[in-house]
């Protein structure tokens, strides 16, 4: 089942006189339960793509559907509500709220959902268990290591049971060992909790953990090798 669908999406930015077009008429389909990695040189528009999929930014043309909802047609406040219920965002710099504890950081997205406080507690508990940080729940971000902070960031991204989780270089600011732990964790989330993941990375080793690997180059996708994909899951090279 196709969960995320980009159709002929273009996005350009103007910096002074020159116009940069990181995404030029790209189309992409991601199935539910897939773990897709996206590689590409710096400045090719990987983050831009994630921002479009998560409704943080809007394409200049083309449409984006997530689970049947055309998010490109939603107003800004509707998009915020949609993100709360359907999308998890893992940041390279984890972006935890420094004045909130690990528990409270993970709890944040659940405040936007119609849950009882008991349900909310359970969700947060489960998310913290999933990332193995139950014993750090009452710690503030500054009391955590970089890897632990990123795990809290991941728990926060999955706590609302989103349809899709995007990750922008989630291991980008971690040492090799910690990065490996995070990779294992992401793989487990995908395999055990069946979370659909779209992950940007510039590290080929990290990209390799995904079930499908894409390369973004000059505004187009190139499918690189990976687990066998059915035809209709392939990024189409529109021409």
């Amino acid at each position: 089942m196709t969960l995320v669908e980009l159709n002929h999406v273009s996005k350009s930015f103007s910096k002074g006189d020159e116009t940069i077009t990181p995404l030029d008429d790209v189309s992409l389909q991601i199935d539910a339960g897939e773990f897709v990695s996206l590689m590409g040189p710096s400045g090719t528009g990987k983050s831009t793509l994630l921002n479009l999929v998560s409704g943080i930014d809007r394409p200049d043309s083309g449409t984006i559907h997530v689970d049947g909802t055309e998010i490109t047609g939603l107003s800004r406040s509707k998009l915020a509500d949609w993100r709360a219920a359907n999308l998890g965002y893992i940041f390279q710099t984890h972006n935890l709220i420094p004045v909130l504890t690990a528990y409270e950081n993970v709890e944040l997205p659940t405040l936007l959902l119609p849950l009882s406080s008991a349900q909310r507690r359970d969700r947060v508990q489960l998310a913290l268990e999933a990332v193995g940080l139950v014993d750090r729940a009452e710690h503030y971000p500054r009391q955590l290591s970089g890897g632990q902070e990123q795990r809290v960031g991941i728990a926060r991204a999955i706590v609302a049971h989103p349809k899709v989780v995007v990750a922008d270089e989630p291991t980008g600011s971690l040492d090799t060992e910690t990065s490996q732990q995070i990779q294992v964790l992401l793989q487990r989330l995908n395999q055990e909790l069946n979370i659909t993941l779209l992950m940007v990375t510039h590290d080929a080793d990290v990209a390799a953990i995904a079930s499908r690997q894409l390369l973004l180059d000059h505004g187009r996708f190139l499918e690189s090798n990976g687990a066998p994909q059915s035809d209709n899951n392939k990024a189409s090279l529109s021409s």
Binding site: S54, D57, R76, W82, A85, I97, L100, E107, L112
Partner: protein
């Protein structure tokens, strides 16, 4: 949905020094507002309670509105008693009070000297001036004076220098204080009362300033006014005491307007304290604010949280100042041209002071919050 309350509270503790400085600045502004509003309210209250609607003041037409300049013949009170119906009379005493009212230099034993207000009165004065109560000591005998609760403030002296048994000097004579009186906040509280005949001797005058008449219940002041109009030869004017003080209220209107203007000025200055703090607070949190939006918080929720932060601080400042104002400012005596009165931190003053305080928090937080929320989330997420 809103952000958790703790978010705003803990953010204030994030930069404790800056928060504390802002708290002090906001509290100072609110305190200044309390002082000015307390002044206005005290002045208004003093003038409002001074008038008695049953009392008619009869004084010279030549004095215009200023009774201090009035001079009428000493026999006027007797003439009024004989000619008028409707004057209150009990146990054979007609309630007419001849009075000589004078601003004069008064020296206390401590050597403090200031312009004080002296009223020469007779035994009928407390019958007509019904608000006056002797709270300590007794009615002045020869060479003695009765001192109002705020007379010390009018003299610019301390209350200890005007206690019973102490002496004061005025009009070339030394007087001993025999008692203290209050008048429910009325203007007479800043006066010194002595025996009329003695005061006349001391000032070498035979005239009086005015006659205050207490009308019997149901009797109209217009009879007195009619009498004064018809007997043009006496050159008298009659005014109901409440009207007299209402006119004074009008007279002080520019002062009150100026005071309100000061409130506005001080408050506008205070907004900068709030703005400064909130701009600083928000500037360092660009990525965090974008993250909250990325998670799914609407802009309005983030805005409210930031305003809540400013509001929390300004509420604390208002509370602090309100408490200090009630304990220290309320009832503090102020010297003023017409006499002395006390600062009044009443419900209006509290409302205005705290209202200004809270407004400072909101207005200080709004511009930086709006600025942060106008920025694109995608760009702000990359901010360092």
């Amino acid at each position: 949905m809103l952000l958790p309350w703790e978010y705003g509270v803990r953010n204030l503790a994030r930069r404790p020094v800056r928060t504390a400085l802002t708290l002090v600045a906001l509290a100072t502004v609110v305190m200044l507002v309390f002082v000015v509003v307390g002044f206005i309210r005290g002045l208004e209250k003093s003038l409002a309670v001074s008038g008695d609607p049953q009392v008619v003041l009869v004084y010279s037409v030549n004095a215009e509105q200023n009774i201090e300049n009035s001079s009428i013949a000493a026999r006027t009170p007797d003439l009024l008693t004989a000619s008028l119906d409707g004057v209150q009379k009990r146990f054979g005493v007609t309630h007419v009070s001849p009075e000589m009212y004078l601003g004069t230099r008064i020296k206390t034993r401590d050597g403090d000297a200031g312009l004080g207000l002296v009223r020469g009165v007779t035994r009928t004065a407390p019958l007509v001036r019904r608000g006056v109560k002797i709270v300590a000591g007794s009615w002045p005998g020869p060479g003695q004076v009765l001192v109002g609760r705020l007379a010390y403030a009018k003299l610019g002296s301390r209350s200890e220098s005007l206690t019973i048994g102490q002496t004061v000097e005025f009009e070339g004579k030394t007087w001993t204080i025999s008692g203290l009186f209050v008048a429910g906040g009325a203007a007479y509280e800043s006066e010194i009362w002595c025996n009329l005949a003695e005061f006349q001797t001391a000032t070498k005058r035979q005239d009086i300033s005015l006659a205050a008449i207490l009308m019997a219940p149901g009797a109209s002041a217009s009879r007195v006014q009619l009498f004064c109009k018809e007997r043009t030869d006496l050159e008298l004017r009659a005014i109901v005491e409440t009207d007299y003080y209402a006119a004074l209220q009008q007279h002080y209107k520019p002062v009150r307007l100026l005071a309100w203007f000061v409130v506005v000025l001080v408050s506008s200055a205070g907004i900068f304290a709030g703005l400064n703090m909130m701009y600083g607070a928000v500037a360092g949190r660009v990525r965090e604010i974008a993250t909250l939006q990325a998670i799914g918080f609407r802009r309005r929720a983030v805005l409210l949280s930031l305003v809540q932060e400013g509001l929390l601080l300004s509420a604390a400042a208002s509370l602090l100042s309100g408490f200090i104002a009630l304990v220290l400012l309320n009832g503090m005596a102020v010297r003023f041209t017409m006499g002395a009165f006390t600062l009044r931190i009443d419900s209006v003053a509290i409302l205005v002071g705290c209202g200004v305080g809270l407004a400072l928090g909101i207005l200080g937080a709004l511009p930086p919050a709006l600025k942060a929320l106008r920025a694109s989330v995608a760009i702000s997420l990359k901010a360092v």
